[in-house]
């Protein structure tokens, strides 16, 4: 006797009935794939035997026997293939990191310029974006490498950028100026805040002027007063050229940090921790007691000032390694090869054009009502930007921005066309040619890029969860 039998209605169909069609489709698909994979594996094994292709990863330990001219770690022809892999990987990461920094800076400037009231700036930015976005990156790389950098004069007729660098003794004075300037600025900010309460804006500017002059005076005379053996003051910059650009690459002075480097690292690490602790404390103070601190400024000061002091105190052991013309080429300093230079230049400019569009879209996505509401509440223009516009724009900007960073990283593989030794050029190019271990090499390379992508997208998802609008 069924429960519903009395009412005379048929029993309702089970809500979760087994979908035979869906099951059979999936079953069939799985069977097909398994069969294909089975066939493919069999074919691969047979083909690899027939062509004598190595099947193990043992080749990674074998001597590479080829040289790589640009390497961040020590490498020679006697190193192993495994080490060559790391050379390529590090070069990829380095180029990507530098490219990302430049692309972001250029992209934000261009994106904001496209929305500028200034007609000329907006038009120039538009032309830049349209031309760069609508031509292939590879063509641009060829252009920078072959048409711009290759025809540069040789080392003897080198181009030099004068006045961009200075003698090391003056760096000490410069550090002093920076320290003094920072203190001056903090003082000025404090004084201005005090004065603003009494609505005395003109004395505030006077105080600013006095502070600035005091900072500059201190910077100029400071080193002499303290007697650290600094030969001259801040304004005695060296006017000779220390940055050279020719067909052998870009030559810039390299800082020789000596034992200061280690101390600097420790101090920066400690002050980063300190800044984080401060930010945490300030947040708690704001939420619990309503105290508002200029967190950005103070954290910057916490990180920068100790580092500057360490640099200043150790400035006697600091030195710059200058590039100098010896015979037919430059010695010393850091040499950025034309391949690397062209790659970073091309990648940054190309990605910047996409970032510019993202930034523009992000700013446009914040509706005008938001700005108007903020000014109706009496927020100043900077406060409106900082508290209302930028946080909302960033929510729109950051996901596609990360995508562009990933694209830049993946696009750095185009270096294989101009001969910069990054992962694909070294590993998929040279090592694959020498060892023939195609399956292992291509899998390792793809795995590297996959790990980078997946790590980024996991981070992105976490970010999105935090930033997502809480809607209905």
């Amino acid at each position: 006797m069924s429960v519903i039998g009395d009412s005379g209605r048929p029993p309702p169909p089970s809500r979760r009935k087994v979908d035979v069609k869906a099951l059979s489709i999936q079953f069939g698909l799985s069977l097909l794939l398994v069969w294909l994979a089975w066939e493919a594996v069999g074919n691969v094994a047979e083909n690899m035997r027939a062509r004598n292709i190595p099947t193990s990863f043992n080749f990674l330990g074998a001597t590479a026997g080829f040289d790589i001219n640009q390497s961040l770690i020590s490498y020679s022809a006697t190193s192993t293939y495994g080490r060559a892999f790391f050379v390529g990987l590090l070069n990829t990461l380095a180029v990507a990191a530098i490219g990302i920094v430049f692309a972001t800076i250029i992209g934000f400037i261009v994106g904001i310029a496209r929305l500028s009231q200034n007609w000329l700036a907006a038009k120039l930015a538009t032309i830049y974006v349209e031309v760069i976005r609508n031509t292939p990156l590879l063509l641009q790389l060829f252009f920078w490498y072959t048409a711009v950098l290759a025809p540069l004069p040789g080392p003897r007729q080198t181009l030099s950028l004068p006045g961009l660098s200075w003698r090391m003794p003056e760096v000490g004075a410069l550090m002093a100026a920076a320290v003094a300037g920072s203190f001056g600025f903090l003082l000025f900010a404090f004084v201005r805040r005090q004065l603003r309460r009494t609505n005395l804006s003109i004395p505030a500017y006077a105080a600013a002027a006095v502070c600035t002059v005091a900072a500059l005076l201190f910077a100029t005379l400071g080193p002499k007063v303290v007697g650290l053996g600094v030969s001259s003051g801040f304004f005695d910059l060296y006017t000779g050229a220390y940055v050279f650009l020719n067909n052998r690459g870009l030559f810039v002075p390299a800082p020789v940090l000596g034992d200061v480097g280690f101390r600097l690292l420790i101090v920066i690490g400690a002050s980063l921790l300190g800044a984080m602790a401060f930010a945490y404390w300030a947040k708690a103070a704001r939420e619990e007691r309503g105290l508002i601190f200029p967190v950005g400024w103070i954290s910057t000061a916490i990180v920068v000032l100790p580092a500057l002091v360490v640099l200043w105190l150790g400035s006697r052991s600091l030195a710059l390694d200058y590039p100098q013309l010896r015979g037919f080429n430059f010695n010393g300093g850091v040499r950025i090869y034309p391949e690397a230079f062209a790659l970073v230049l091309g990648l940054s400019l190309y990605t910047a054009s996409f970032i510019a569009e993202i930034v523009r879209a992000g700013i446009l996505s914040v509706s005008k009502g938001q700005t108007e509401a903020a000014s109706a509440l009496g927020l100043r223009r900077t406060a409106t930007l900082k508290l209302v516009v930028i946080p909302q724009a960033m929510r729109v900007v950051i996901p596609p921005l990360t995508n562009q960073y990933l694209n830049l990283t993946k696009n750095s593989s185009l270096a294989v066309f101009i001969g910069f030794p990054e992962l694909v050029q070294v590993f998929v190019g040279t090592v694959l040619n020498q060892t023939g271990a195609m399956i292992q090499i291509i899998s390792i390379t793809m795995a590297v890029y996959l790990v980078i992508s997946l790590a980024t997208s996991i981070a992105m998802n976490m970010f999105n969860k935090r930033m997502a609008l809480a809607e209905r």
Binding site: N134, L137, F143, A147
Partner: protein, 439 residues
């Protein structure tokens, strides 16, 4: 009395008109425009001045190099190598045939022209808004055209003997693919299943007939190793575009499917291919694809990168289409189910038409990216346009820095025209579709 009034009323009564005030500084005209758009604030004025300085520095040399000092005709590179010479358009003109066709035999070039021109005509017809018979043009472009183009370009029977194995299984596979293609296209345009089936049958029979009859045309065989230049770039781009959209739609539907295995496989493929650079996909297609199949099945060297490019653009297309699918309100799905449409009918009649129209900009962006990415096929030895430019500049007769630069500028112009044209077309379509939705 009157005295009292005069003293007690401090009211001021003006007895003469005041002088006219100066008219406001004009709000119209060029002066006002310059003031408002170039010098509205001090910072903006500084930016304007800097921009003008930049233009004064960059523009005159550019114009001189491009036009005034340019060499328009020369027998060899000597004139262009002279100091002070500008762009070498003579070189571009001289090498134009090479840029267009690569090493395709010169006396057979009419075949390439025929294919390119008919393809262009079909594309224009298909994309021209409000043209009559656009569906027919699209059907022809996606089914008849590729087969005939293949036959004309290679000179072999469109029943492929070189691209895929000569063995019976291979031909069967190819025939199966073709039937699926025609049936798919048929269902897209005419929803009746019988019509689609009939079309597939007719297409298959016609194709076999043409294949049997083709050799009597007497076209000489031209191997894909001789193909090159703009023609190959367009070929790779077209194949990528034609295949990426349907595969992308299928993958997007798979990713949003209720079936866990289908969903998992789609996500796996999409995320895997999206996570790696195109170069590695191309190298993989070139070196590993021949390993996956029996030795006598080894695909043609041009076919391998085509597969790689199509797969790569398809997964990006899948993400674009998925965006469109997600933008369709749930009520549309529910409404379609409520009137009793099957899943395919719902997708075909209700969801996809709306979803695809919403993501037209994204689709065109993918096409533009794909078109630019075709330059990468050079890594596996395909002689595309950019590779032709790179090769031509090494010709000792024409070697020289300003000559290479001219080649690059020409290539940039070519790619710019195509990509910019596509983006403008998508903007136009977007506006047309938006017009129908405006309230």
């Amino acid at each position: 009395m009157s005295d009292a009034i005069r003293t007690s009323t401090p009211i001021f009564v003006r007895e003469s008109m005041t002088a006219d005030r100066a008219p406001p500084v004009s709000n119209a005209g060029p002066a006002a425009w310059i003031r408002d758009n170039l010098f509205p604030t001090p910072l903006s004025s500084v930016i304007t001045l800097l921009a003008l300085l930049f233009l004064a520095w960059a523009l005159p040399p550019l114009v001189r190099w491009l036009f005034i000092d340019a060499i328009w005709s020369a027998p060899n590179g000597d004139l262009c190598r002279a100091p002070g010479a500008g762009a070498c358009w003579a070189y571009v003109w001289q090498k134009l045939g090479f840029f267009m066709y690569g090493s395709y035999p010169r006396e057979e070039v009419w075949r390439v022209n025929l294919v390119l021109l008919s393809g262009a005509a079909l594309v224009v017809w298909m994309l021209w808004p409000d043209a009559r018979g656009r569906g027919g043009a699209a059907l022809a472009f996606f089914t008849v055209y590729p087969v005939l183009a293949f036959g004309i370009l290679t000179g072999s029977a469109p029943f492929p003997t070189r691209w895929l194995p000569t063995s019976g299984t291979g031909q069967l596979l190819w025939a199966f693919l073709y039937v699926v293609l025609i049936a798919g296209a048929g269902t897209l345009f005419y929803t009746g299943r019988l019509t689609a089936l009939a079309m597939a049958m007719i297409g298959f029979v016609a194709w076999a007939e043409i294949g049997a009859w083709w050799p009597t045309l007497g076209l000489s065989h031209v191997g894909t190793n001789l193909w090159g230049g703009i023609f190959v770039s367009l070929l790779v781009a077209t194949v990528g575009i034609v295949f990426s959209l349907p595969i992308g739609i299928v993958l997007a539907l798979g990713r949003r499917s209720q079936m866990p295995i289908v969903r998992f496989l789609s996500v796996l493929l999409i995320e895997f291919v999206r996570g790696v650079p195109l170069i590695t996909v191309l190298v993989m297609a070139n070196t590993m694809l021949p390993l996956f199949v029996p030795q006598d099945w080894s695909p043609d060297r041009l076919l391998r990168p085509l597969i790689g490019v199509a797969l790569f653009s398809a997964v990006y297309m899948a993400e674009v289409v998925r965006g469109g699918l997600q933008a369709i309100p749930k009520g549309q799905y529910e409404g379609a189910m409520a009137v009793g449409l099957s899943w395919w009918q719902m997708m075909q009649l209700i969801v996809l038409p709306q979803a695809l129209v919403t993501v037209i900009p994204g689709i065109v962006n993918s096409f533009i990216a794909l078109f630019k990415d075709t330059t990468l096929v050079a890594i596996v030895g395909i002689f595309d346009f950019l590779k032709a430019v790179e090769t031509a500049r090494l010709d000792p007769v024409w070697a020289g820095p300003s000559i290479s630069t001219s080649g690059y500028v020409f290539a940039a112009f070519f790619y710019f025209v195509f990509c910019f044209g596509m983006s403008r077309y998508s903007l136009m379509m977007e506006r047309r579709h938006a017009a129908g939705r405006k309230r």
